[in-house]
């Protein structure tokens, strides 16, 4: 029988780690999208909620009957590499128009339980015209309707909207399209994850560009750590806002783990003195090690930084190295070039290398065969590398970061590559 008990423990550990990693990659997990994992999350919601709260200070809300789980994941250092994407082939990132429409639509949806696409569009038109900071929403233009459709499809994918009758896409063709929606306002309410509501730090429209950074930090400001406004624990030396050791430790744990659990690599030069100190302390070390293990990650610690590697590739939206598209293959090959040049390369050099890559792979499609195609390929490849935080753009040059050395070519692989 002990055999059976062991099985239970193993199963529990595997389920926990799978749930943690799935929630990291899909912070809004619906039952419709993945019934199997949702069922696991539902059953283990208490330990999971505790895990996220302890390690990251993130709230996990599981609504078994409504069929969704939401990890309110936020991060003070969110980068631009993971935009909202259109839910159609190509997965192009949202543009300004779509982001604005998304917010307006969500605001209008909150007050109705059921609506049609036409009525909703009318309300968004009114909302846009009522606010002089926004440009008008014109349903007569096809491009605007397509943007609106993209927004609705994204909301549908989150389960905030449910199509009862008709198809959202038909609105792109005609304003007269008939689509009936049921609105799940509880999901809508949970779309915003930042701990501080934007309406509480509202500023005049004219000031937004200048004070944008301030707004972003304002969004993630949390009172529980007793931090001064926009302050960093390490650099703060104000005598009148002392941090208690407990709160300080809590803050360090959360700020380090939030970034480690969300980002591909964390270099030491991105960490403050206090955070480095925490990671060097026995407690910090132990917590980091245990968190990685419980979540099913392999912790890789090196002189230059840390990374959590997910061998199952569950907790990642894309993989590197991978052959999913030409840019990724080119990225790996360009990384070899960059690894050989620690001082970095100019974009022109990379374009030349890309040219060579294109020569090597004559079967690659037309996309990069046009004038300037090589430069475009180099550009896309560098973006892939930057998204994985392996290179950095410094004064027009592309400079490899320490973690890039993980993927360098060894003599052994070279031998395989060029058999004598």
């Amino acid at each position: 029988m002990s055999n059976f008990a062991n099985q239970l423990v193993v199963a529990e550990r595997e389920e926990m780690s799978r749930c943690i990693r799935t929630l990291l990659v899909r912070p809004l997990l619906t039952e419709r999208a993945d019934p199997v994992v949702f069922d696991l999350v539902r059953r283990r919601r208490d330990p999971l909620a505790h895990w996220f709260d302890y390690h990251c200070g993130w709230t996990l809300a599981v609504e078994p009957r409504l069929g969704y789980a939401r990890l309110l994941k936020f991060n003070a250092e969110a980068d631009a590499s993971r935009p909202a994407r259109r839910t159609r082939a190509g997965r192009a990132p949202f543009d300004r128009r779509r982001y604005v429409l998304l917010c307006l639509t969500a605001a209008e949806l909150l007050s109705v339980p059921v609506t049609t696409i036409g009525l909703l569009a009318d309300r968004v038109v009114q909302a846009a015209s009522a606010d002089e900071a926004l440009s008008a929403f014109d349903t007569a233009q096809r491009a605007e309707r397509v943007a609106f459709v993209d927004v609705l499809r994204l909301l549908e994918s989150y389960g905030a909207l449910q199509t009862v009758d008709g198809a959202t896409d038909s609105f792109a063709e005609s304003v007269e399209a008939k689509v009936l929606y049921r609105v799940d306002s509880s999901v809508l309410m949970r779309l915003l994850a930042a701990p501080c509501g934007p309406s509480r730090i509202a500023v005049p429209a004219a000031d937004i560009p200048a004070r944008f950074e301030e707004l972003l930090t304002g969004l993630v400001e949390e009172r529980r750590y007793g931090l001064p406004v926009g302050g960093d624990a390490a650099d703060d030396a104000q005598p009148d806002t002392p941090l208690s050791p407990v709160r300080r430790n809590l803050w360090l744990r959360h700020s380090v783990l939030r970034r480690l659990l969300d980002q591909p690599v964390l270099h030491r030069d991105e960490l403050s003195e206090a955070e480095l100190g925490y990671l060097a302390s026995p407690t910090g070390r132990q917590i980091l090690r245990r968190a990685a293990e419980q979540a099913g990650f392999v912790l890789e610690e090196r002189a230059e930084g840390f990374m959590l590697v997910d061998p199952d590739a569950i907790a990642t939206d894309s993989k590197f190295p991978d052959d999913a598209n030409h840019a990724k293959v080119a990225a790996l090959l360009l990384l070899d070039v960059l690894n050989a040049a620690p001082a970095g390369c100019a974009p022109e050099q990379l374009a030349v290398e890309a040219e060579r890559i294109l020569d090597r792979f004559p079967r690659w499609g037309k996309a990069y065969r046009t004038e300037g195609g090589a430069a475009a390929l180099a550009d896309d490849a560098v973006r892939v590398l930057a998204d994985f935080r392996l290179v950095r753009r410094e004064g027009g040059r592309v400079v490899p970061r320490p973690a890039a050395a993980r993927y360098r070519v060894t003599s052994a692989t070279l031998k395989e590559e060029h058999p004598a």
Partner: protein, 510 residues
Amino acid sequence: MFRFTMGDRAPLYSAILQTFGDANERLVTALGLDDVREQLRGVGWFGALTDDDLTGALKALREWELLDVIQNHAENYRTAEEYERRNLQYSLTRRGEAAFAGVQHALSVLVSTGALQTAVLDAIADRLEELDRLAQDAASGDRRIFATLQELEGHLDALRGNTKQFNGELQRLLRTDGAELSTFHEVKGATVAYLQEFLTNLDQRAHSVSAAVARVEEHGPRTLWERALRGAELPPAGGDDPAAAWLARRQARWDGLRAWFLPVDGSPPRVEQLHHVARRAIVTLLQVLDRITESRRRSTGAVQDFRELARWFAAAPGEDGLHRLWATAFGLGPSRHAHLAHADPELVSATESWRDAPPVEVSALLRTSGRTERFTRTGRVRDVAALKAERAERARAERAELEAAWSLLRTESPVRLSRFGALDHEVFERLLDLLGRALAVRPDATGARRSVTGDGRVEVVLRPPADPQGAPAVLRTARGALSCPDYVIEVHTVGASGAFDVMDREVVAG
């Protein structure tokens, strides 16, 4: 006919018509220029008004055939002005009267509020009773009948008008949103209370009305109307006899009354629909109230948050700013991690540089041909996913075996051990485990040994052999045979299904 209600002089026109209307009520049919000017004050027109304006207005009204002018040639006038002032007398034409009445009616509809009065129903029942009484009494005056009939029709009109208006108002009430919550609450709450009040006695009143209608029907309303016609003493009019039209109108009205309370064709009376409408309105009103309260309670902040964010997105600097705002505010982005790890991560020290540590194994095929191996060819790239899946599969299989073994061993009633006969080795091991557990405890007073597995899911009861001197039980598996006393065994599992049928088993064993 209603042109006077349009344009910037409409108020003046309306005021003039109003003076004529008021004059009519005082039985003054014609007004001169000065009279009109004087009366205008009385109907609330205090604007500056020159003679030219007034004459112009009167002229316009004449052109629209709302006013008529009567001239008196009997007197002498010295000036044209005097002539105009004293000689020209204006009066309303039929058209003018109708137009004025129309506007008056429209205004009264606008200001009045619809109401359902149970009193109207009572009044209708009353008049019907009286009609019935008068009809049976030959001595009663025809005029009395006429007056009662008029009253009845008046009440019926009131009922119809009120219902129409009330229904309209109800629908408007259900449509409006965005009103101040407190007033909304108040108005709707009051309406609900009113409707409930109205509904409680509606049935009873409707019944008494329909009963009265039936009684009048018995005596034939036709004779009633003829007597009423005599009592009406219709004024003589040019052309054909008005009596036929009058009677037809009474018939139509009566039909209307019956449609409300006692339809001829037996269809549900309209007063019942009133019931439905009112009841539905109550439900809808309460739902709307709930929804408003709920949405206010839940989303005060969220709506503002989304609107504010829309503003931020509209003004965010650069494309990166947009995406960063999205990531920060919504936190819906996926995490991103490397997936290639060292085969044995423990080998590399944490203080070593990435540059010195051995690199992870990247598929060589990816570098040479731009593709990763879809099938692990020689295991150069360790496919952990497959391994994990395999392990999970094995674990699942083990658990399934365990469950299967238990369900196989489950017995519906006590059986002798010997009847298990031949067994799979795995099942046999489970059985042995159970026997071991049972034999480890002391027998109770009846000689039975009871034991439960560690997780409490299986209970085993072992009794001594019925025939101690009999042949020992022999259990065979693929790996050998066990011979032991022929205990009587019972195995119960909790929550498992698929009973082990010992009889079947015996056939196989035999």
